[in-house]
């Protein structure tokens, strides 16, 4: 048994996979943390992001890394519209989101997820497609690292760091943070709560759709209308692991999940690895409901 070699490899791939998981979940985290709403249709917007990268590659010939910013701009607009269409009615004039409003947003975004995924099946067919992007591999001894995965991992961390800097260091960012703490506080600094909430939602969507583009590197032909059904639950687990609203929580959660999936596979079946990756949510919720990050 060349166990060490195997484990180093698994760790490296798990970390890179974890990075892309993180960025995919990060958009959900922003919206959940600030607006306190869980978007059940999150997976569908990842899927749209992935298709965005696919079509941009098909028609404009650009790589997923280049299509991420384009997606982000589209995501901003989509997120803004999403806020006013789905959340505004429930959130306006409220200090905290009530359980009832939470149910309404759950149900409404659930309907949206049905709608989008089925529309996508009609328009794109169930035929999986993919983006061909392969800039080569990097070799460290026995470790071969695909450059595409490495680039994506780096960009993912940059995106998360970027949103963190934005929220910490800019005026709009601090207003958004104020909103997440206390809605009335935003009014005290002279901002309209709805504007702040819609901005945060738009930011979340931008990250989500950019993440969808980055994800295409890992699913060379796995872009299909139903892919959201896998990545939405993964995102839920990651955000709960890291703690909603903690910007670095996405990274911690994503890396945990990525490493968990790859490392458990080294010792048990892949099915058990995936089952464990999902089930880890339960003990975390029981023992550390605020996430594993302090």
């Amino acid at each position: 048994m060349v166990a060490v070699e195997l484990i180093v490899r698994d760790l490296a791939f798990g970390l890179m996979l974890g990075c892309v998981f993180s960025v995919v979940a990060h958009g959900l985290n922003i919206i959940w943390g600030v607006v306190k709403v869980v978007n059940i249709a999150h997976g569908e917007f990842i899927m749209l992001g992935a298709y965005g990268a696919y079509f941009l590659n098909l028609f404009a010939g650009i790589t997923p890394l280049e299509s991420a910013p384009v997606n982000a701009v589209i995501g901003l607009l989509v997120g803004y519209a999403f806020y006013y269409a789905f959340l505004h009615r429930e959130l306006r004039n409220k200090q905290t989101i009530t359980l009832q409003s939470e149910m309404v947003t759950l149900a409404a975004t659930f309907g949206l997820s049905l709608f989008i995924s089925n529309l996508a099946i009609i328009l794109f067919t169930g035929n999986p497609v993919g983006v061909n992007y392969n800039p080569g591999t990097l070799q460290f001894g026995y470790l071969h690292v695909p450059l595409a995965a490495l680039y994506v991992a780096i960009v993912s961390i940059l995106i998360i760091a970027g949103t963190w800097l934005f929220l910490e260091k800019t005026f709009i960012g601090s207003t958004i943070r104020a909103y997440s703490q206390d809605v009335t506080a935003t009014e005290l600094v002279g901002a309209n709560p709805a504007t702040v909430a819609s901005l945060a939602t738009a930011l979340g969507f931008a990250v989500t759709m950019a993440g969808g583009a980055l994800l295409t590197v890992w699913v060379p032909v796995g872009i299909n209308p139903l892919m959201g059904a896998l990545y939405a639950p993964i995102s839920f687990v990651i955000v709960v692991l890291g703690g909603p609203g903690k910007m670095w929580g996405s990274l911690v959660g994503g890396l945990t999940l990525g490493v968990l999936i790859d490392l458990v596979q080294a010792f048990a079946t892949a099915q058990i690895a995936y089952a464990a990756a999902f089930l880890i949510l339960i003990p975390v919720l029981v023992f550390r409901p605020g996430g594993i990050l302090k």
Binding site: E5, G14, L17, A85, H88, L123, G126, P128, G130, A149
Partner: protein, 435 residues
């Protein structure tokens, strides 16, 4: 404070209006795009007049999980039916009939199967049945064929378990899943008996059946299996763990896979883990032209099993060599009829097996010279023929026993049929060299 909510309401209205306009534009554009580029349009096959109809009923998955395979199958059925009707129809007792298709979309859902088949049987009065696409749906439909005593031909259900239930009216046209890798293993046995094999497959029913049967068959044939592993069909981001483990286990050759994405992922990740197996054979993916486009050099010399390829060369002459009758269109005639349909693309093996099902049925009706279920059933049981899809003969359970899978290999951008010998357009090239 009064002004604020009103401003918001105005903005909300504006956004709702924009959203509605956007929805209208998107759905209008989407519908246009769908109708012109996505929706398959069946052949406008003019039915020769003055004939009665033989109604063949079935459901097919035009939406849902199996929509791609279902659409390809339907196009194959349409092509075969059109060929029959344009080439003399079906003659029973001196009377000529047209084949008329009566089908409904089952949306890939088993809850639609029994209502739809019941209505096909009791209201539309279909005389013969085809099974739906996929083993699961076929399993749901089969009891209805038994209950109503109608012949049903399975073209998309390859699971061996369908044939263990004692159905007397259900017959398979395609090779069962358990035989998919036989060609590859036979070739390895003949040429590289010392190779150690690794199996890595998706955990869905079809891939598991195929790979488990193959590894058993390989051991029987005296080959060594050093690695055998299944991975979840739903998340295939990363198979490098398993590939490394297979390499570490000392494997020379790699067999397995699952769906299209799986095959692609496996070949892609081989290079990233730095393993170059000598021989690779993967389910489903390899036969797709995209496979080579996506992978480029890495696809070269990858092999895979196929029920049928447009390049296989079954012909009336090969039927004569085999000493069995030929029925139906030739390869090129079938492709020709197939291509008359808009948005149908080029035929895949799903089209081939589905088209063959209609041909087998019509040939059996000819042989029986009757439309009676019992007579046709007996005719099918005793039939051994060749169509463009290959041979047809069933065993006592109704399972296909004569049809042979083919082994294909990408060779310099071309998909060559490399086994079995009777239909080859090239020979297996060994070893695989990577990109």
């Amino acid at each position: 404070m009064q002004a604020k909510p009103r401003r918001l309401a105005k903005r909300t209205t504006a956004i709702i209006v924009i959203a509605i306009v956007a929805i209208v534009i998107v759905s209008g554009g989407g519908t246009y795009y769908y109708i012109n580029y996505v929706a398959p349009r069946p052949i406008s096959c003019t039915l020769p007049s003055g004939r009665d109809a033989i109604k063949v009923g079935f459901t097919i998955s035009l939406t849902g999980t199996y929509n791609v395979e279902g659409s390809k199958s339907l196009a194959g059925i349409e092509a075969a039916a059109c060929w029959i009707n344009s080439n003399g129809g079906v003659t029973v007792n001196g009377k000529t009939y047209n084949i008329v298709l009566d089908y409904h979309d089952d949306a890939s859902s088993s809850s639609n199967i029994s209502p739809l088949y019941t209505s096909i049987i009791t209201q539309d009065h279909a005389q013969f049945l085809l099974a739906p696409y996929s083993s699961g749906l076929t399993g749901t439909a089969a009891p209805l064929a038994e209950q109503n005593n109608l012949v049903m031909l399975s073209h998309g259900g390859s699971s061996d378990s369908i044939w263990t239930k004692g159905y007397k009216n259900v017959f398979g046209v395609l090779s069962p899943a358990s035989t998919y890798f036989n060609n590859a293993i036979n070739w390895l046995k003949a040429n590289h008996l010392g190779d150690k094999l690794a199996f890595l497959h998706s955990d869905d029913s079809f891939s598991t059946t195929a790979s488990v049967a193959a590894s058993r068959y390989a051991v029987q044939q005296g080959l060594t299996v050093v690695y055998n592993y299944s991975y979840p069909s739903m998340g295939t981001q990363d198979l490098s763990t398993q590939l490394t483990a297979a390499q570490v286990a000392g494997a020379d050759d790699l067999l397995g896979g699952g769906h299209y994405a799986d095959g692609l992922k496996i070949v892609q990740q081989l290079s990233s883990v730095g393993w170059t197996p000598k021989f690779i054979s993967l389910l489903v993916a390899v036969t797709e032209p995209q496979f080579q486009q996506q992978l480029g050099g890495a696809a070269n010399l990858v092999t895979g099993p196929s029920q049928w390829e447009t390049t296989v060369t079954y012909s009336p002459a090969s039927a004569q060599t085999a000493g069995i009758p030929w029925y139906g269109p030739t390869e090129s005639q079938f492709v020709d009829y197939y291509s008359k349909q808009a948005n149908a693309g080029s035929p895949t093996y799903h089209s081939g097996e589905a088209g063959a099902a209609i041909l087998v049925l019509v040939n059996a009706i000819h042989n029986a010279n009757s439309l009676d279920t019992t007579a046709v059933r007996q005719a099918i049981s005793g039939m051994h023929i060749m169509t463009f899809f290959g041979q047809f003969q069933v065993d006592a359970t109704g399972k296909q026993s004569a049809h042979s899978m083919v082994l294909v290999q990408w060779q310099n951008g071309e998909l060559a049929v490399v086994a079995p010998a009777i239909v080859t357009s090239g020979t297996v090239k060994y070893p695989y060299t990577g990109s």
